[in-house]
């Protein structure tokens, strides 16, 4: 196993309330310095709720946002996003909203040709051949090529989006909520397609989602994000069957499941912390039943637990559920 993607102390700080002169009014730490690595051929799931920084992280990885600090390494080389034609061949991105990621005034053929032409300088004949191959792989009919995006349903549009990413021929795909805009029956089609493509083309996935059940069906390893930090990371079955961090446990207990009676898993009035005024120490402590004085003094660091799971918590839950 080789590490294909390595993040070291990657962080992103957004200024809020820019002024003409002088410093901005406030800073939002969307992503706290975090380090992660992804092995070749693996699917790393990234779970978190809205505002936890998962999309910011994804956009940094594909060079759409410059990080505030830290480094991104692909296959041991630092990611240089100065030249879009270089990093576009290494790492690609599948968007959440399939329709709005396709230009409404271009045909599918024009959209599909862009990466082939600009990233790989292919000739017209080669492009046609490659598009035919990719369309076969994602189960799309070639007659779609001369239509416009608005003629497609969400599921078809997402297949087209995936086809475009495959055209770039990158080995690493960042999938940012790729199925959350789709209906469940279509969602299952797309998830299965992604699994097949991964085997067929030897891809590595970073699968970002707010839906634990979806992440569980696709991931080898999972990282749980809360308020811009990784609070738990480890093998997917370990993390989901025996959550160590109280937040992971809360997430798992909140997902509605057929056959489990309704209960509010936490106090009814708790709110997420304010990103402009984050709490000291552990960001989760105001919602946490196990919080102690120690949690308020200093944020816990990721530490390895007995079974290979890393948890950032002073009071990790014991293994039994």
């Amino acid at each position: 196993m080789t590490t294909v993607l390595k993040l070291t102390n990657l962080s992103k700080i957004f200024p809020v309330g820019k002024r003409l002169f002088g410093p901005p009014k406030a800073l939002v730490r969307a992503v706290q310095p975090l380090s992660l690595s992804v092995e070749e051929g693996e699917t790393l799931g990234i779970v978190g709720e809205s505002g936890c920084g998962k999309s910011t992280l994804a956009r940094m990885l594909v060079g759409l946002l410059p990080p505030s600090s830290g480094t991104i390494e692909i296959n041991g080389e630092p990611l240089d996003n100065a030249d879009p034609t270089l990093f576009g061949r290494k790492i690609q991105y599948v968007f959440q909203d399939p329709i709005s990621s396709l230009n409404p005034r271009k045909t599918i053929r024009q959209i599909m040709e862009a990466p082939l032409r600009h990233l790989h300088n292919m000739s017209a004949a080669d492009r046609g051949r490659r598009i035919a191959e990719i369309f076969a792989a994602v189960n799309l009919r070639e007659e779609f090529l001369d239509r416009y995006p608005h003629e497609f349903s969400g599921g078809q549009a997402q297949r087209i989006g995936i086809a475009r990413t495959l055209a770039a021929d990158a080995r690493i795909l960042i999938l940012d909520e790729p199925v959350s805009a789709l209906d469940v029956s279509v969602q299952a089609q797309v998830l299965n397609l992604l699994a097949n493509l991964k085997d067929e083309f030897g891809l590595t996935y970073l699968f970002i989602s707010h839906d634990l059940a979806v992440v569980e069906t696709v991931s080898d390893r999972v990282a749980v994000l809360y308020f811009g930090s990784v609070v738990e990371v480890g093998p997917a079955d370990e993390v989901f069957s025996h959550p160590k961090h109280p937040y992971t446990k809360l997430l798992a207990d909140s997902a509605p499941v057929v056959g489990r009676p309704l209960k509010a898993p936490e106090g009814r009035a708790t709110e997420l912390p304010n990103p402009l005024n984050p709490p000291d120490g552990c960001a989760f402590r105001v919602r946490c039943a196990y919080a102690s004085d120690q949690c308020g003094r200093e944020a816990p660091r990721l530490e390895k637990q007995s079974d290979g799971v890393w948890t950032a918590c002073y009071h990790p839950l014991s293994g039994s559920k």
């Binding site: 990233l119 469940v184 699994a195 056959g259």
Partner: protein
């Protein structure tokens, strides 16, 4: 794009403008071919001839020049200058706007402040200054008019570009290895062109006027060359004695500008997607009702019952049967789940109950909705209004979109209460605080004065629920109330709704696409597919042993926590489009049990087991199993 001429022709005034403008342009184009007198030859012996005199159809001016000839040549020149100025201003303005909007940040700031400075001068002063600096002459007047109009285009196009530059397809293009210049030309520009065309069509008349104004002041075309403005200027001294010399060019300016403006408005209406989708046609206060079939009878005494409800959207020559005959009923204190995928008609069915489907294009074409035995479908508007939010209330998916951003949540709650009860302000405010407490918002006394944007998604949805509860309704229709929320917040909201229902004996129609949610809060559940109910019954029966193949397979493809990595049992294909419904079972195309019988005739919703109904001739479970 094919529809554009049709859309334009539907607007009578625009069509008139188009015809008049076409005539003027044709006249201007063929002027050199017409047997006209030379426009610039003076003949003072024949000065100030009246119109319709011999040899001069429109008379002559103060130098005895033929007015008809001068008018046509002048029109030709004025149109040419006006169009050129418009194209020049649009090109430069759009280029500035696109660059400012695309790059944003400092570049945007510098460019737009420059444009603002240009706008700070009164336009005529600016034009005069430009002409004064460059010297009089038609070419310089053209430059002045174009320059004066650049800020208008730049600001307009910048606004549109900012919206487009943040779209995901721009990011996608960047990831496809495109450079900024290429993205601007091939991704941004095609999306901006319609706006540029609209802006040109609405300003070109104005530019012709401005050019005429400069020529009138003697700064545009120089004698003896005629354009409409200079003709007016020369006729000014004879305005009282020989009015026809001013009336002729004046009338032409009027005709041109009127025609262009009417045409421009028509072009704008036809191109603007917002106007095309009916933003100009105000929806009626209740959904239109056109029932052709006899109205079904109310069956037993129930709180709310839908009988054979049919709602369609009639868009041009297509009819979308969003709801194709739905029967449902809710009893007091009961929670009925309505589950289905997008496009299954679940929301339209729910909105039809209170006549809230936008008309046009929505039409209720059949069936009835009985609230305590009274049909709501043909109820007068006043009756519906007194029930809306009072006896039957709605909770919508996105509380940020349903709460007014400029009023505090307290004001909005007070308004909801006072719409149906004669409370005074203080009573209503106290009631609003009670409501916020009842949905467990902490510090209700302070939160009542918050604006919606100051609250989190979960808190806003609590306000949405408080608003629904404001008048102590009997029925709440909750349309995906937790779909936009995070799971931890969703769990809180679901348990809140469940508690409220039990405390107050509310009946809830809970619309969702999530089986987990249905399992946790609903007593009964109805599954919708392609506008009809395919299965209905007690939640436990349906979730444990679904009888309709669609329900069974839909449940199978939902990932559930705790089952590890695996392949999902996806349903192949897509739901049918509701303007082209198949003859028999709508699910037959995707069903692996489908036989010829499924496709031949309509399948009825029949009793299956003790408490369930199913619309299938070969259900997954036997009637006996379904009764357990």
């Amino acid at each position: 794009m094919m529809a554009f001429p049709k859309l334009l022709a539907r607007n009578r005034l625009a069509l008139g403008g188009l015809i008049v403008m076409g005539l003027v342009v044709v006249l201007a184009l063929i002027t050199p071919l017409l047997p006209l007198a030379d426009p610039d030859v003076t003949n003072t012996a024949n000065r100030f001839k009246r119109p319709f005199s011999e040899g001069a159809l429109l008379g002559t001016d103060h130098l005895g020049r033929d007015l008809l000839s001068r008018l046509l040549w002048g029109t030709r020149l004025s149109l040419a200058v006006g169009f050129t100025a418009a194209i020049a201003a649009a090109t430069l303005g759009a280029a500035i706007g696109i660059i400012a909007g695309y790059y944003g940040g400092r570049i945007d700031n510098i460019i737009m402040r420059g444009v603002d400075m240009l706008m700070a001068f009164p336009y005529i002063l600016l034009a005069l200054a430009i002409v004064a600096a460059l010297g009089p002459g038609l070419m310089n007047a053209l430059i002045a008019v174009a320059a004066v109009n650049i800020p208008f285009f730049a600001r307009n196009i910048r606004g549109i570009t900012v919206g487009i530059a943040h779209k995901e397809f721009i990011d996608a293009a960047r990831l496809s290895g495109m450079t900024d210049a290429r993205i601007i030309l091939t991704e941004v520009l095609p999306n901006v062109v319609p706006v540029i065309v609209i802006a040109i069509s609405t300003t070109i008349g104005w530019m012709i006027l401005e050019t005429a104004g400069l020529s009138f002041l003697g700064l545009g075309s120089q004698p003896p060359q005629a354009d409409l403005g200079s003709m007016l200027g020369e006729a000014r001294s004879a305005l009282i004695t020989n009015p026809h010399t001013s009336v002729v060019p004046g009338a032409m300016i009027l005709i041109i500008v009127m025609a262009i403006n009417l045409l421009g408005d028509g072009v704008r209406d036809a191109l603007d997607p917002r106007l095309k989708s009916g933003a100009l046609s105000r929806p009626m206060p209740t959904t239109m009702v056109k029932r052709t079939m006899p109205v079904p009878e109310a069956k037993a005494e129930t709180l709310l019952a839908l009988r054979g409800l049919k709602t369609q959207f009639q868009v041009k020559d297509r009819v979308y049967k969003a709801v194709g005959g739905v029967d449902l009923q809710v009893n007091p204190g009961e929670c009925l789940g309505l589950i289905g995928e997008s496009g299954s008609g679940k929301s339209v069915a729910a909105l039809s109950i209170m006549g809230l489907v936008a008309s046009p294009p929505g039409v209720i074409t059949g069936g009835a909705v009985y609230y305590r035995g009274e049909d709501l479908i043909d109820a007068p508007y006043e009756k519906l209004r007194s029930l809306r939010g009072n006896r039957i209330a709605y909770i919508f998916q996105d509380p940020l979109a349903t709460l007014h951003p400029l009023y505090t949540v307290g004001d909005q709650l007070i308004e909801a209460v006072r719409a149906h009860h004669p409370f005074n302000k203080t009573e209503a405010r106290a009631h609003a605080i009670d409501l916020l407490k009842s949905v467990r918002i902490p510090n209700a006394e302070q939160r009542v004065d918050s604006y919606p944007h100051e609250m989190s998604g979960g808190m806003r949805q609590r306000v949405g629920i408080a608003m629904a509860l404001a008048n102590d309704p009997e029925i709440i229709i909750a349309d995906e109330p937790t779909t936009a929320l995070d799971v931890t917040v969703q769990a809180q909201i679901l348990s809140l709704l469940d508690d409220l229902r039990r405390e107050r004996g509310l009946a809830i129609i809970f619309i969702t696409h999530d089986f987990g949610v249905v399992a946790q809060v609903c007593d009964r559940v109805a599954v919708m597919y392609a506008g009809r109910i395919v299965e209905e019954g007690p939640t436990r029966t349906i979730l444990n042993a679904p009888a309709h193949p669609y329900t069974a397979r839909l449940m199978a493809c939902v990932p559930e926590l705790g089952q590890g990595r695996r392949e999902l049992a996806a349903i192949q294909g897509l739901p049918p489009v509701v303007d082209k419904m198949p003859k028999g079972c709508a699910f037959a195309e995707r069903c692996n049990k489908a036989s010829d019988a499924c496709r031949q005739a309509n399948i009825e919703l029949v009793r299956h087991g003790a408490n369930s109904l199913v619309r299938c001739i070969s259900p997954e479970t036997s009637a006996l199993e379904a009764s357990e």
